[in-house]
Amino acid sequence: MKYAYFPGCSLHSTALDYDESARAVAKALDVELVEVPDWTCCGASPAHVTNTFLSLSLPLKNLQSAEKISRQMVVFCAACYSRFKFAEKSLAENQIKEKIKKIINLEDIPEVKTRHFLDILINEIGLENVQNRKKQDLKGIKVACYYGCLLIRPPKVAEFDDPEQPSCLDNLVEILGAVPVSWPYKNECCGASLSLSRTDIVLKLTNDILQDASEAGAECLVVACPLCQANLELRQKDINKKYRKDFSLPVFYFTQLLGLALGIDKKSLGLHRAMVSGDFLLKEKGIA
């Protein structure tokens, strides 16, 4: 299977470990990822509050480049996923379509479907297939699967999992041998880009999420979005200070846990880059 791969800004910078683990996992599952040439930012999260047409033109420009590689484009970032999906849906309206075509000088709208890697994992590769390739069990490690907002909402855009009771990550980690905990905050907002402008809000939201996860007995969190990861992991120190907590919960990308189960070494999965290290937990569980 060959897919165009849109890393987006985060996976080339703050979420390098997501990019590394994504490529490693894809390789192990015989999925060929070809990076979209000359890609630009997808517009998340400032473009759509600035100008509708800008927010649609940016994804379209990228899809145009992706079309040369494959008719399907994979993203890993939930925010990118949301912007591409929004663009896809909005272009169903003729008026908008014609205007966008003019803006970026397109003859035809590229027929490229954007998919999150989780979607491909579940619906193309299949969890059964993943299980067959499993080389290492995750040994009952208790995981709080955190979905956040944009991966599953709004339902008419994401069309992917149940918007209120999502389960795809839970199903995945369960197959890998981990134990997903049942917790209500799995799709509460983490504050996203308010992290920089209104840190106080993000601290409250992420504190609530981490508190609920640890009360549910989770030893770590797993996410599918670089922004969620950053807010939940990088902010733990500030949360501990402000709310007098002592959180030390590793926040893994699902690709990292998947990679471990597929027998990929920790370095290739970028696990050494974590700010809240998962080493201790993994060692304790005996996961190499």
């Binding site: 149940d162 918007p163 209120e164 009771q165 209500p184 905050y185 009360e215």
Partner: protein, 670 residues
Amino acid sequence: MLVVDQLPKTELQEIPFKTKIPRIGVFICHCGINIAGVVDVEKVASEFAKIPGVVHSIDYKYMCSNPGQELITTTIKEKKLNGVIVAACSPRMHETTFRNAALKAGLNPYRVEIANIREQCSWVHQNEKEKATEKAIQIIYSILEKVREDQTLEASHSDVEKKALVIGAGIAGIQAALDIAQAGYPVILVEKESCIGGHMTKLAETFPTLDCAACILTPRTVEVSQTPKIKLYTYSEIEEISGLVGDFRVKIRRKARSVIEERCTGCGICQEKCPKKNIPSEHEEGMGTRKAIYISFPQAVPNIPVIDRESCIFYKTGKCKVCQKFCEPEAIDFEQQDEIIEEKVGAIVVATGFKQLGKDLYGEYGYGKYKDVINSIQFERLQSASGPTLGEIRRPSDGKIPKIVVFIQCVGSRDRSKGIPYCSSICCMYTAKHSMLYKHKVHDGQAYVFYIDVRAAGKGYEEFWARAVEEEGAIYLRGRVSRLFEKDGKIVVRGSDTLSGTQIEIEADMVVLASAICAHPSAIELAKKLRIPYDQYGFFTEAHPKLRPVETTTMGLFLAGACQAPKDIPTTVAQASAAASKVLGLLSQEKLSHDPITAVIDDEICSGCGLCVEACFYGAREIDGIKQISTVKEVLCEGCGACTVACPNGATQLKNFTKEQILSMVDVML
């Protein structure tokens, strides 16, 4: 069915109407100032006075008044008219009136046409009087073309089977069946469950008077079983319906109950001895249990059990038969098969009720996941003296008495994003009732109600709601709930209070969801069998939202209760009685006459392509097996014209709406 030809025919019938020379009268109505205030009616009248073939043209203040009708009748006689145009309001208003007036003068009513110059002209062009006058003239010109070619048509007649079918034996079906039977006509009452009474059997007390539902319903269900004119088929469903008003042929599937009804004495020993326990009870909405052979509830009518073959040990393993061993009258029959019964009826009342929204749409509320989040019918069972807790309010998870209960209204209803934009109509009132009854039973408890608006429009409803707040201390919070989750044995309710503009979190012991009233999942399938229209939500559509609220567009089929729209018990009963009176009106007729405006087929042109068969909603078209051309079953044809549009070569025409007539009507307009 038209009533026009039921009037006594007069001695003037011998007037030679079929003469080719048109003698047309044009009558222009002022409709007070409705038309005359915009259209220059005198000018219109004088315009048509000049037209060849029009022998009389006159305007009048109220054509539909008695003197107005008299004017038409006498003019037809005096001027020997053979065609009449009344330029007035919509034909839906007074076409029948004027056709009757013509009939009195001996003119065939199908030679009377209405030119709609009110709804289609004066009302919509109030600021353009001159142009409106011109348009009125144009409209009448086009109708004139139609009248010139109109044929004399005679209504056909058929017999009426003096028996009614009522589908569904909830409170609506019961009321309709009793009303019809009391008037002396036999009724067949079909219920898909094993006993009758529907949702009302599950209710504890009813708003706004708080009388016990069982106390007011049981006398009715017993009356059904004791009325000889009512033939009751429970555990039965409609298999097929064919025929038409006055002569419906119905096939009823009596599902195998595994109990011979005639032998069973209802002693209940089978139920007592059945070893298969702990099956979630449908009657208790899963809050209680039943056996594999069971009578839904103690007052069930008929008091005859049914074996749930999915759960029964015998049907699974081939062994057991404990119930059979203990059954003295030998009523248990494991070999019983479904039985198809055929009945012939003249009219049908559809009263199939509703279903409450399940758990699909609101994942954030965790219904089905958190034990202490229940829906309103389940809460009714908790309150019911015969319910799983014998009327004590105890929460499902641990049986504790909940001290804080949160009620959430509009779960689904009025939520466009979930595809249910309509109001479920009864939730505001039953939630007020719930909060009140809760307080009656748990004195130190506190009820919270999240609402959007309180809609209390019925008699005594506003006072009832006020009582819940002022006397029973329910706290009403205007806003929606974003999510529920479990924490330390409580259900945390997170919502907003839009009046104070704040977020609220309540740690409740139990949460009750007022989930939307939805159409029954099988409603659409039934609608297709019955050939009645339904809306996008699956509710059956009445013929007119105001003036024909219990009729459907299919003659002889009437609606009662929540299958048409969500409604409370008083409204349901009123509608059921209305449907019954419509049925009685029909059954008491000696003969039914059918509108002669039907499709006709020109055998020589028809190629037998079958497009008309597909286009016909009423099953009135079929391909003749021998001739290989299309035929029209006139009694079934409603004259809608869909087939004439579908017909590619014009072989199918509608009487008095022929292609030639319509084209010449268009021609004069252009």
